[in-house]
Symmetry: C2
Subunit: 185 residues, 2 copies
């Protein structure tokens, strides 16, 4: 039985911190953004925020809204892992795609726009927004794909508004541990 | 200075439990659903889920997306209260309408669809869904108004997934207390 912890949340909310906490507990992490970044580079483009956003849109146009989830499922199949954390869910269509192949816990990691902007600036990754305008535009793009619905319909919500990385890690471990126990009994 | 704690969340998540906890701390509660229910009755209709949903849509069509928020602001003006908790935010347009007149903390109360369905059935209020199909339809209608965006862009998120009413009350009191202290300094 394949177990998937599907992690959603707005840019900068702390999805990767949460996902990495599960890696420490033996889960295999698959990053949806990596699939898109790889595809962006495969198309000869710099994997910056603008290009990855456009390739994501193109992929969905060409192969449907489940395109990125389908690519992830291929990757998961190759790893042969049975406990997988998928980092970066953007829509309920993706969740439903995973639910056809696995038992899925959808977890939303939440933080306010102000805190996310701060966390993104601290992080300074290549495809992170540099200005507040770019940040707002990126939020708008994610919401346009339907991430708000995925957050609203999550099975569990973890707040990263006041948490340290360690506290966030402990909370996700608790939530997932409880679920795993229920699923396996 | 008018302070508004604006509470959003999917049907059954526990918005009213959270809002009522603030009433115990001296906040004045204004329920957006009451405004819509009053308007529904004023139009000679039973205030059930279907009719209130339709009147909400009509109000927005007639007076714009901020229609219900504008009516709430009228009510708030009459109460002369300076610390108001608004129960039942459905869109960012409503939040922005309040932000023109007040300092606003947007709080999302979250719970999984399964738990919300259970909580709604326990509650059994007149406009609550009776079947799972009606529950899903109501979720769909709320998401159509843009509640997912409001949840995704909240300043604070409180999970009611595993909380007792007392624990939820304590958590919202903590979140609002911390904010109020920051705002007033």
């Amino acid at each position: 039985m394949l177990l998937i912890v599907a992690i959603t949340g707005m840019p900068g909310a702390g999805k990767s911190t949460a996902a990495k906490a599960l890696v420490n507990l033996g889960w295999t992490r698959v990053v949806m953004g990596d699939v898109i970044r790889a595809e962006t580079m495969r198309r000869g483009l710099e994997p910056d925020a603008k290009n990855t956003g456009e390739v994501m849109k193109l992929l969905r146009k060409e192969k449907g809204d489940s395109a990125v989830a389908d690519l992830c499922l291929e990757t998961i199949g190759k790893t042969k892992a049975e406990r997988v954390v998928v980092d970066g869910i953007r829509s309920m269509t993706e969740v439903e795609t995973f639910r056809k192949k696995a038992v899925v816990l959808l977890v939303a990691v939440d933080a306010s726009p102000e805190r996310r902007f701060e966390l993104l600036r601290e992080r300074g990754r290549k495809d992170d927004p540099l200005s507040y305008e770019m940040f707002v535009e990126r939020d708008r793009r994610e919401l346009g794909v339907g991430i708000g619905r995925a957050i609203a319909l999550a099975n569990e919500t973890v707040s990263n508004q006041h948490a340290t990385p360690d506290k966030l890690a402990a909370e996700i471990a608790e939530v997932v541990g409880r679920w795993e126990k229920n699923v396996s009994t």
